[in-house]
Amino acid sequence: MIVLENINRSFLVGDQPVAALRDINLSLADGEYLSLMGPSGSGKSTLLNLLGLLDRPSSGTYLLDGGNVTDLSDAQQARVRSEKIGFVFQSFHLVPRLSAAQNIELPMMLAGIPVAERQHRVAELVASYGLRERADHRPDQLSGGQRQRVAIARATVMNPAILLADEPTGNLDRATGREVLRLLEQLTERGITLVMVTHDAEIGVRAPRQLHMLDGRILSDQLSSDQSTAP
């Protein structure tokens, strides 16, 4: 359960404050699938970073599962990220010197999970994402689709409640992109909350709930059944 109340975020450009998010109010139920759309500069990436606790709002509160996470220290926020949030990036962000399996293992290693359990879970994910033959390959030996599958496996290895995807298909061709989308959508069926930033309307409409942003404001918040809940 995510609740954002009166979230503002402004950046200093030179000595001029520029508002990236203005008065954002948003609530997301567990297992919801939301697409965030809007032109570049509309604030959708800033909102995603805020949701992922990579950024702090200038004002407002962010309640995650009932707890206020805006007041947490850096170390506490890191812990929340580790336990509850998974990231999928447009450019995959795999560590180039680590193999696919080691990349998947990385969040568990950072969390200090015992080796035996790590290997068990990695093996499970490698199998279910169809990466068995590629597990020992380094990222530069993998195709784009395989890389994104490794990244998704890494994002889900800690069983997070929320998955944040920033243009996950942006660097992939159409067919591979669809494959990756299906993979992400399957995860929502298992109860993960998925927030996906995209500027591709065709991809955006696949989500049951669509959020359009412009100039740091929520322009429209619609469900696929065309019930508008926008202010």
Binding site: A78, R79, L106, P107, L110, R154
Partner: protein, 402 residues
Amino acid sequence: MKFADILHFALGSLRGSTVRTLLMILAMSIGVAAVVILTALGEGARRYVVNQFASLGTNLVIVLPGRTETAGIAPGMLLGQVAREITLDDAEAVLRSNAVKRIAPLTIGSATLSHDALNREVVVLGSTHHLLEVRHMTLGMGSFLPQGDIHESTSVIVLGKKIQQELFGNTSALGQWVRLGDRRFRVIGVMAAQGESMGFNTDEIVIVPVASAHQLFNTSGLFRILIEAKNRDAIEQAKHDAETILFARHAGEKDVTVITQDAVLATFDRILTALTLAVGGIAAISLAVAGVLIMNVMLIAVAQRVKEIGLLKALGAPSTQIRSLFFAEAALLSSIGSMMGLILGYAGSLLIGQLYPSLPVSPPWWAVLAACATALTTGILFSVWPARRAAQLDAVAALAGR
């Protein structure tokens, strides 16, 4: 994050940039090797001197004529006066002390030694039977100066090894007559080849009874009295006794100087230890330079791996963890570097030992320890800033590669 994982991860990122890692290890190991080799040389020099002193004799107390003033010129020097001589009787009197085991009076001079048509200038030592033991000399063949009255000027001579060879070649010198100055002496012994010790080549001297030497050089004073104390603990007592006896015999005038070999040795020891410390310290500067290098390269590494750091943050690594990852890298670099440096340093000292066998080269343990400790601390200290920089990166900006 587990310690083994931190190490493993750091090792992985070091392996990821081989050239950079190897260069850093090289810099570190050169620093450590420099400390090890230079201190080994200094320590070698110290041991060399100590050994040289030991070869001069053990538990030695040495009596010199005259008194070394702490400052100024002794008035006698301007008037052409010399301090009161030490006589043979003085030397014998010292034996009264029960801390003294034996003594060897010493007179020194030079004279022409000739046999048949051959002659050469030689250093003449006048002494007694006991010189052999007191100075740790070894006789090659024949016998040494006879025991007996110290005042008796018998015409016998013991030749140094080289003198014997120059004058007699391969024929036996024993029993032959030689001329030294204006007197004839019969050769009764030849010293074994000993080589140089303390800049004094015992192979190129001849030894005659001290009374004969006095007649030869027309003096009655001694150059030195070498006193061997009963044991190590008796050295101070022997020194004190020698002073008391000699001052009393010289009408209370303190005109002799008594030094112990230990005191001289201790001075050399101090000087050479200081020297070793100094060269070690200079070498340690190269370690500090290596530390700066590590800092520089770590800063570059942080800049190059911004995205990776951003990712680690996104995956839930707190700042402390990122800091310890970079610390681990620096610590690994310094410890591998010091290990290589130790190997290099020991190999270098071994090589120098082979090239100069007379120099007992071996790096002192404290220097080895200090070198490794300095390498590790500089490596880790100089990585504090880069590691902090990495940990304080803004996650969003880092992920975007900014």
